[in-house]
Amino acid sequence: MPNCGCETETMSHQILQYALSGLSTGAIYSLIGIGFAIIYNSTGIINFAQGEFVMLGGMMTYFFLSLLRLPMLAAMCLSILLTTAVGVVFERLAIRPLRNANPLSLVIITIGGSILIRGIAMLQFGKDTHSIPAFSSNEPLVIADATILPQNLWILGITFLIIAANRYFFYHTINGKAMRACSHNRRAASLVGIGVKRMVLISFAISSALGSIAGIITAPLTMTSYDVGIMLGLKGFCAAIIGGMSSGVGTVFGGLLLGIFESLGAGLISSGYKDAIAFIILLLILFIRPQGLFRKAETERV
């Protein structure tokens, strides 16, 4: 068969396109995954309600925009604040009273919490799927033969900023350093006068804020409804597992890798199995390298 090269050309073009769109979904997974990691490192808990914070961010923004007719920025800030409040209340009411419970109870508690939050959201916002307007124009931009929506750039930019801010917080502020100390050894941290309980509370606050931001920036692209939290949460967890539960670069890479794989798999293999790809990767990593892919390169665990 004569090989004109055109087929491979379109193929590589397609791959570039898929990889580009995978990057922004991957950035979302990274943000959610970092939320998982922050709580895990300060408490040893995998917070199954993490995905619900993502849902709350998107749904509340929609609610404030369409019903209260608030301006975009105000709606976003208000929903981040409220989601953070939900995270803090959840910690105070359900997690703190159970500090010394066995992991099984903690798993069940956070699952119960996530069902509760999802149910209340369903009653409050209904079962419909909503979208919020993109942050800027909807005109696709062309970069190196591939098109990309401005919202994708917003997602990447905001994620980058947040990760930088996160790093600054954990390495250059007193609270951040205290949280890192807690993640290394809670008992030793409390012996040198760090309020471990307060650090746990802060970790829930940061995680829920991160989750809500992820939910808001992705809502214009992927739509939002009361039940988006399950899948997004699980994929964020997958990103965190790939990254070895680090709240830094590892999980970011994990998220991006997952996003790209998913997008390539959906485009080249089958879109129906898109969600299965994330879980197959999750199982493989848990079976083969439960410490994460980058354990050696990246050992910070906050």
Binding site: Y40, I45, I46, F48, A94, P97, L98, A101, P103, L104, S105, L106, V107, I108, I109, I111, G112, G113, S114, I115, L116, I117, R118, G119, I120, M122, L123, I230, L234, F237, I241, S270, G272, Y273, D275, A276, F279, I280, L282, L283, L286, F287, P290
Partner: protein, 326 residues
């Protein structure tokens, strides 16, 4: 056999209640609900063996239930297999799958185990939806035949009620025997400390996989019963939400108690039926129940009731003593 006379009497009373229940609710819609209660009880008993006794969480049990239902359904509806043979082959196939994935999955603990089983459940759910040629996809698989014994067809709710509950009652008895045996003690040892169990000579990893497999096989049988009584199945019944519902049944009823799962299954199957008007609220009720019971009643309702009655009894006894002295 269960040697304790007290628990045998309890079991006898319970079994006769099950046998006689149709006299009270004969016919109509409630019979159908009671068939579901039986299937859910079977599933809750299966999950309780793993979660309540061995302390290993699974958020993927709906997958084993679904695999049983689909293997049974496809083998009979598409390939014309006998329903009983289909039930057995489904159970064998699911047992093999559970045994194979059991080794890597049960190496994980706590949160990681929860996530891995959850991931497995979702993968299976996606496969049910996507293999449209085999399973019929999201619109489901219909035309599954009823069970029959040489011409006697289990085609009414009443007949299926007795079939399902017969299996459930036998399973309750067998599981009660199992947990009171050497194996049951080994499982509880694993639950409290794997290291200690290993020191005592328990083959922890193998035993965990075995109980996981047994639990999956019982769930598969429940799935076959479901498929052949409903004659229609669709993936929606086997998703993540159902796994959580099963978890809720076991936790509410009481982890590691014989009748706890039954209690939870009855409550969680009847509650939504009686709350039809508040259909959307049932998910909130589940969430609240999970949180509150785990926080304030870690032994579930069964132990909660036991605590309350023994408290009342001791209160009453001391009153009697006081009165006698006064």
């Amino acid at each position: 056999m269960v040697r304790d006379v007290n628990s045998l009497v309890k079991y006898a009373i319970f079994s006769s209640a099950v046998l006689l229940a149709p006299l009270l609710f004969s016919g109509g819609y409630l019979m159908n609900v009671l068939v579901f209660v039986g299937i859910n009880t079977l599933l809750a008993v299966a999950l309780n063996l793993l979660l309540g006794y061995a302390g290993q969480i699974s958020l993927g049990h709906a997958a084993f239930f679904g695999l049983g239902a689909y293997i049974s359904g496809v083998a009979t509806a598409t390939y014309g297999m006998n329903p009983w043979a289909a039930l057995l082959s489904a159970a064998a196939a699911v047992g093999l799958v559970a045994f194979a994935i059991g080794f890597p999955i049960l190496k994980l603990k706590g949160h990681y185990l929860a996530m891995a089983t959850l991931g497995f459940g979702i993968i299976v759910y996606i496969v049910f939806n996507e293999t449209v040629d085999i399973t019929g996809g999201p619109s489901g698989l219909s035309g599954i035949p009823n069970f029959d014994i040489s011409g006697f067809v289990f085609d009414s709710d009443l007949k299926n009620y007795y079939l399902v509950w017969a299996v459930t009652l036998v399973t309750i008895l067998l599981s009660a025997n199992l947990v009171n045996s050497r194996i049951g003690r080994a499982l509880r040892a694993i639950n409290s400390s794997e290291v200690a169990a290993r020191v005592m000579g328990v083959n922890v990893s193998l035993l965990k996989v075995q109980i996981f497999t047994l639990s999956a096989v019982i769930s598969s049988v429940a799935g076959s019963l479901y498929a052949h009584t409903m004659t229609f199945i669709s993936p929606a019944s086997f998703g993540f939400n159902f796994s959580v519902e099963l978890l809720t049944m076991v936790v509410i009823g009481g982890l590691g108690s014989v009748y706890g799962p039954l209690f939870g299954a009855v409550l969680l199957t009847l509650l939504p039926e009686s709350l039809r008007a508040f259909q959307d609220y049932d998910i909130i009720v589940y969430g609240l129940l999970l949180v509150l019971i785990t926080m304030y009643m870690p032994g579930g309702l069964v132990r909660g009731i036991h605590v309350v009655t023994s408290f009342a009894r001791s209160k009453f006894a001391s009153e009697v003593v006081k009165n006698a002295q006064g």
